[in-house]
């Protein structure tokens, strides 16, 4: 029944010694910089595809990839926020489609002024996020189930509101399709939508990395009990995340209208899984608390680069899908390995 006190240094010193094997070092670097692995994958893919077909690296092709991933990339930013809290959102595409139909229909057919139509779309997105958030925080349902339900609800609402009809870009005021406008940057052709994506990414990355709110989002996803004990209102943080994500999905609706030059009820059919794919390949942990916006953008680009590069290499579309699937599994396996050293 006797214990002697060890010098407080002992455990810490032992820890310092322990960290030096090469595998541990790699692990440590990946651990502290989660966006390194997606960056490396993207870089390697770009090099390989350029060797296979040098058209890949041309500015026109790179511009095309950026335009192609703009919509999924923006959805993935919102999805990242939710996955950081250890949640998941299956309704992202449905929210986007509903918002795009509200914006396009109200402006093109109901005579609502374009700026007001956009604001109306943003309000619908916020309300959709609020509904998801309230069901998660107040009714305490798992996010998967909540958003599986609202996915169908929002899709149905979109179809009911539009009678299943699309709205063509030519019927809309110019402001709504402004996001599809191309801007020349040297030999690159960037759309205003792409710039909007980068802007949203910058704002969200700032909020996550530089504000208390961001710290709280990470803490809630990491260990919600520890966050609660530290005095963080977990429910409020979760609710805010779903609302902000809803707003981002609504802005994506605007980008989608510009990109497709139309608003169609079936535009976002695979958007939920595509956005989750981008987030996961971008190094964000599905278990919450770990991930970055930069990683997510890299993840979205990686998917775009693989699809584009394989197409240029003359590989069948089915193999593109196969490769993306393998990438997802590899990314999650890597995440498991990175998380493993938690003692």
């Amino acid at each position: 029944m006797s214990t002697t006190i060890q010098a407080p240094a002992t455990a810490a010193e032992e820890f310092e010694k322990r960290r030096h094997s090469p595998a541990e070092r790699v692990h440590h670097i990946l651990h502290s910089h989660p966006s390194i692995s997606p960056a490396l994958v993207l870089l390697a893919a770009a090099i390989v595809f350029t060797i296979v077909n040098d058209r890949f690296i041309r500015p026109s092709n790179l511009s095309l990839i950026m335009q192609q991933v703009a919509v999924v990339g923006t959805l993935a930013i919102g999805q990242t926020l939710i996955i950081l809290t250890a949640g998941i959102d299956l309704s992202v595409g449905a929210v986007m489609v509903l918002c795009s139909l509200v914006i396009a229909k109200s402006a093109a057919e109901r005579g609502v002024p374009a700026p007001l139509a956009l604001i109306l779309g943003l309000v619908v997105g916020i309300l959709a996020g609020l509904l998801n958030g309230l069901l998660v925080t107040r009714v305490k349902l798992p996010p998967f189930i909540v958003t599986l339900g609202t996915l169908n609800v929002f899709l149905a609402l979109g179809l009911l509101y539009s009678n299943g009809n699309s709205v063509q870009g030519s019927e809309m005021p110019g402001l709504l399709t402004w996001t599809g406008k191309t801007i020349k940057l040297g030999s690159f052709q960037i759309t205003t939508g792409v710039i909007l994506v980068l802007l949203i990414a910058a704002v969200v990355a700032f909020a996550l990395g530089q504000t208390s709110w961001g710290r709280h989002v990470y803490a809630v996803g990491d260990d919600s009990e520890a966050a609660r004990l530290a005095g963080i209102s977990v429910q409020r943080v979760l609710l805010s995340v779903y609302v902000v994500a809803g707003l981002i999905f609504a802005i994506t609706a605007w980008i989608q209208i510009g990109r497709a030059f139309s608003a169609t009820p079936n535009a976002g059919a695979d958007a939920n899984l595509d956005s989750i794919t981008a987030v996961v390949i971008g190094g964000t942990s599905l278990f919450g608390g770990r991930g970055t916006i930069v990683g997510t953008l890299l993840g979205a680009l990686t998917v775009g680069v693989f699809r584009n590069g394989l197409a240029l290499a003359g590989v069948d579309v089915l193999y593109q899908t196969l490769v993306v699937g393998i990438l997802v599994i590899a990314a999650v396996s890597l995440d498991q390995w990175i998380r493993k050293v938690r003692s």
């Binding site: 214990t3 820890f15 710290r215």
Partner: protein, 296 residues
């Protein structure tokens, strides 16, 4: 219950010793959960600069007592005083705002966040000027610097890198981060709820050394633990909780561990309320030896 009323008079009757005014005091706390009595009129005094151990068998009301003191449970009856002022906590946040910080046995830190972020979790510092007030930008460098100072002050100098994720630390180091957080913000009282329960021997040593550091800094500490050697190692006085009330208050000098266990389990009928008055003698003074009990 009658003895609880007795002790109400104690602090005021000792007007000649102002230094021994308790920092924190509970009088006659009662809490029932349906038909289960959690607290049955508990009195507790915590004096400035002391480590008060709280021991007791399972179900003796240790956790309920500590939850009541830290706002996690609202007592049905009784009063609580902090520096002589009556307080009542409705939420843990109330207790925290009053200057009472709690460290839990569950290593309540966010593993993926770095040390500095954990130290300031829920109380982040913003930058000065418009960056802070308009953009709500965090003073990351300032928080890291302060975290480093806080850790160094507590003698945890081997953790140099405040940007290290907490999950890369050992259990003891994680708990050290939690203790450092409590010490940084607990202006009046630090409550440690089984801080060594999840730790090995070496790791516990780190935490016990930290408790001594807190005491040296003059911060009063309440330590709840199952581990007798740990309590006897660092506590000035030991509050023995039994069957929902305070059986007695002893000191490591006045009683041996086995005597404490005997009181705790009821093997020795030392739970005469008169014993509670030992607390009056304040930290460091020997308690009343067993067999000296009686209503006085």
């Amino acid at each position: 219950m009658t003895q609880a009323t007795d002790t109400h008079q104690e602090p005021t009757s000792r007007g000649n010793a102002p230094a021994r005014e308790p920092v924190m005091e509970a009088r006659g706390l009662i809490k029932t959960f349906g038909r289960v009595v959690g607290l049955d009129g508990v009195d507790l005094q915590l004096y400035p600069g002391e480590v008060l151990g709280i021991i007791g068998d399972n179900g003796a009301g240790k956790s309920t007592l500590i939850k009541a003191l830290t706002g996690a449970v609202i007592p049905d009856q009784g009063q609580m005083f902090l520096e002589g002022m009556e307080v009542s906590f409705k939420r843990p946040q109330d207790a925290r705002e009053a200057g009472i910080e709690t460290v839990y046995q569950t290593l309540a830190v966010a593993p993926a966040l770095d040390i500095a972020s954990n130290l300031f979790l829920g109380r982040e510092k913003r930058r000065a000027g418009p960056l802070g007030s308009w953009l709500r930008m965090l003073d990351v460098a300032g928080m890291r610097k302060e975290a480093g100072e806080q850790m160094a002050e507590l003698g945890i100098s081997t953790i140099q890198n405040m940007q290290q994720a907490v999950e890369t630390l050992s259990g003891g180091q994680r708990q050290a981060v939690a203790v450092a957080r409590a010490a940084a913000f607990g202006s009046k009282v630090v409550v440690l709820d089984e801080p060594t329960a999840a730790l090995g021997v070496k790791e516990s040593g780190l935490v016990l050394a930290l408790i001594k550091q807190l005491k040296e800094r003059g911060l009063p500490v309440i330590l709840i633990s199952h581990n007798m050697p740990h309590v006897f190692e660092v506590a000035d006085r030991i509050h023995i909780q039994r069957l929902g009330r305070c059986a007695t208050v002893i000191t490591p000098e006045s009683h041996s561990m086995s005597e404490a266990v005997a009181i705790m389990t009821g093997a020795v009928p030392a739970d005469s309320p008169g014993h509670q008055r030992d607390g009056r003698d304040g930290p460091g003074s020997p308690g009343v030896p067993p067999g000296h009990e009686g209503q006085g």
